[in-house]
């Protein structure tokens, strides 16, 4: 997690040339794969100055896309937080039949292309889908609506919290929970006072990743939303729409805002880690 200082002991130091080459390769790799693309987003967005940049963002459709994206993330992330906690708790603290099947199912959204995740919803709830006519008769529409986007986003981001928590909770074992039980604590008290404090950092990380991913989801949302401007277009869809219209400044402006959201989530995480470093260190024992 932390970079160690160069070893003082000469016996443990790598040859200077080798160390230099390795560090150089790493830097070049990071520059081309990570830093340059990120820089380009902001550079392109601001190419024609701040005026055009903010005009791009203040556009009615862009504002609608921003609102929609935040709304989707605000629904999908809490849903998957609850699901992830429940799944991780159940998988790591209990033994039951079909546990491995459940573990594999949790991973499924990672391995399936998001486009397929979107398509299954169209097949299930679309006008010609399995439940489409029934839902239609009840006056419920899912595909091409916010509901559909929420469903698709939730499916795609389902593994993030669970996947973050499961290895962590497996490593911690069940001894502390067992100890709490022998001391007379009930299930809820044990969960909130023993389990949750032990996993809060992993949980936070999982929620942040889930949120970032929920805001950035493209494939599944593109299929179920119908990309209706000002109505069902989220920020990633709006970027594509603008780009296809050769409106590069506006496209990159929205893209830069999306990137900014992601950077903010990471900044929050880093800040919290620094703020509670003492507490974290206290927990790293075992």
């Amino acid at each position: 997690m932390y970079l160690s200082r160069p070893a003082k002991n000469p016996a443990r130091r790598d040859p200077t040339l080798l160390a230099g080459v390795m560090i150089g390769v790493a830097i070049i790799y990071l520059v081309f794969v990570l830093f340059l693309p990120l820089f380009t987003v902001f550079f392109e967005a601001l190419r024609k100055g701040f005026g055009d940049y903010f005009r791009g963002l203040a556009d009615r459709d862009a504002l609608s896309a921003i609102k929609l994206t935040l709304l989707i993330a605000a629904i999908a992330a809490p849903l998957n937080t609850v699901f992830g906690l429940a799944a991780a708790w159940c998988v790591t603290k209990f033994e039951f039949f079909g546990k491995n099947v459940l573990l594999t199912l949790i991973d499924l959204p990672f391995s399936i292309s998001p486009v397929i995740s979107g398509l299954v919803y169209v097949l299930l709830y679309g006008a010609n889908g399995w439940f489409g006519p029934t839902l239609d008769a009840w006056g419920i529409q899912i595909i091409f609506t916010v509901t559909g986007i929420v469903l698709a986003t939730t499916l795609v981001t389902l593994p993030f919290v669970a996947r973050e928590l499961i290895p962590l909770m497996q490593g911690q074992g069940t001894d502390e929970e067992a100890a709490a039980a022998t001391l007379g604590a009930g299930g809820l008290r044990t969960f909130f006072l023993v389990t949750l404090p032990n996993i809060k950092w992993g949980l936070m990380y999982g929620v942040l990743l889930c949120t970032a991913r929920a805001m950035g989801e493209f494939g599944a949302v593109a299929v179920v939303s119908g990309k209706i401007r000002g109505q069902t277009a989220t920020m990633p869809l709006q970027v594509e729409i603008l780009y296809n219209e050769y409106n590069f400044v506006a496209a990159f402006a929205v893209a830069s805002l999306l990137a900014l959201f992601a950077l903010i989530t990471l900044a929050v995480k880093t800040f919290l880690e620094a703020r509670f470093a003492h507490e974290l260190a206290a927990q790293r024992w075992r």
């Binding site: 100890a179 039980a181 001391l183 007379g184 604590a185 206290a282």
Partner: protein
């Protein structure tokens, strides 16, 4: 009131961890569960605490059926092998956890809890360390926090799982004596699990020896050491030397010399295995009677002299004799060995 375990069975898959285990811990008794790893001792402890479910059998405390109660209502203090301290809580918060978990109606006031925690910190000799996190405490200190935490709920029984397992030898010895004193002071019925026979024999009022999920023998340390019920118990409680012998009329014949059999005598004559402690031999000159042997090494440091020798046409043994008897012996000397008395189990 006594704790009575009757006919408890528990298996993990096809592996029987506990196979019809029955034992009794008297009120205020300090009982050790001793056995090699995989003998079921920790499982038994967890069944009593309620962390594992017994398939059959009963666990009663006085006239109370413990198996009918969920873990948190059993009132049993358990100290885990690796302590299982809540790592995000200070030592004092750890200790207070059990008291604060009581139903509101019987929960003491905040001041009473604070006083109780102080009292327990004093009891386990951790005055002034209540504000430390587990990561800031040494192994021995963590163990004592775990003990104080278990005692805080004023349990009717205290269970300790390998209480000294994770500590180094010196800390172990100090804590052992301290735990014995603490038990004398609290008078709490205590059961502890260990795989260290020395620890069990030194600490416990009585020791139950477990093997493959069964109670092999239960008794005071003295009874176990001097009257072992099986070869396993004899072998487990100290160094033992095994030799082929011929049982004839209540005596064991080894190398043409007969030795009396102590304890249970086998029903019929014939070939058998004799079990002897290393100090159960007499050394004779090379033309004496008994088994011929050649000395490999003579170790003179320690309360007894230890003689490492190879018996002719057989394996190496290390016997212990008084220093007087070892005088003048040197490697490569030839001697004869004669067992003074042996044990034989059918």
């Amino acid at each position: 009131m006594s704790l009575e375990v009757t006919g408890v069975r528990k298996s993990f898959g096809r592996f029987p961890a506990l196979d019809d285990v029955s034992l009794l811990a008297e009120n205020g008794e300090f009982l050790a569960l001793l056995g090699p790893s995989g003998s079921g001792k920790t499982t038994l402890l967890r069944v009593i605490a309620g962390l594992e479910e017994a398939e059959t059998g009963s666990v009663r405390f006085g006239d109370e059926d413990l198996l009918a109660k969920p873990v948190r209502q059993r009132g049993i203090g358990l100290v885990f092998q690796h302590y299982a301290l809540f790592r995000h809580m200070t030592a004092a918060q750890n200790i207070a956890f059990g008291i604060k978990s009581k139903p509101r109606a019987v929960r003491p006031s905040a001041n009473q809890i604070k006083a109780k925690v102080e009292e327990l910190l004093n009891l386990v000799q951790l005055e002034g360390l209540g504000g430390r996190y587990p990561s800031q405490l040494s192994g021995g200190q963590r163990q004592r926090v775990a003990l104080a935490r278990a005692l805080a709920i004023e349990p009717k029984i205290l269970l300790l799982d390998e209480p000294f397992g994770a500590l180094d030898a010196k800390v172990r010895r100090g804590l052992r004596r301290w735990l014995r004193e603490l038990h004398e002071r609290t008078g709490l019925t205590t059961i502890f699990v260990t795989h260290d026979q020395e620890e069990a024999l030194e600490l416990a009022d009585r020791v139950a020896i477990l093997k493959d999920g069964k109670v092999e023998q239960i008794g005071t340390p003295e009874e176990l050491y001097h009257d072992p019920a099986s070869a396993f118990v004899f072998d487990f409680l100290g160094d033992s030397i095994q030799m082929a012998c011929e049982v004839k009329g209540g005596m064991a014949v080894i190398g043409g010399v007969s030795a009396p059999i102590i304890g249970q005598k086998p029903d019929k004559d014939g070939p058998a295995t004799a079990y002897i402690r290393p100090d159960g031999f007499q050394i004779g000159p090379k033309d004496g009677e008994g088994l011929g042997a050649r000395i490999r090494d003579v170790l003179l440091a320690g309360p007894d002299a230890r003689i490492d020798c190879v018996i002719d046409n057989d394996g190496a043994v290390e016997v212990r004799v008084p220093h007087k008897a070892a005088k003048g012996l040197a490697p490569k000397d030839r001697i004869t060995l004669k067992a003074r008395a042996v044990r034989v189990w059918a």
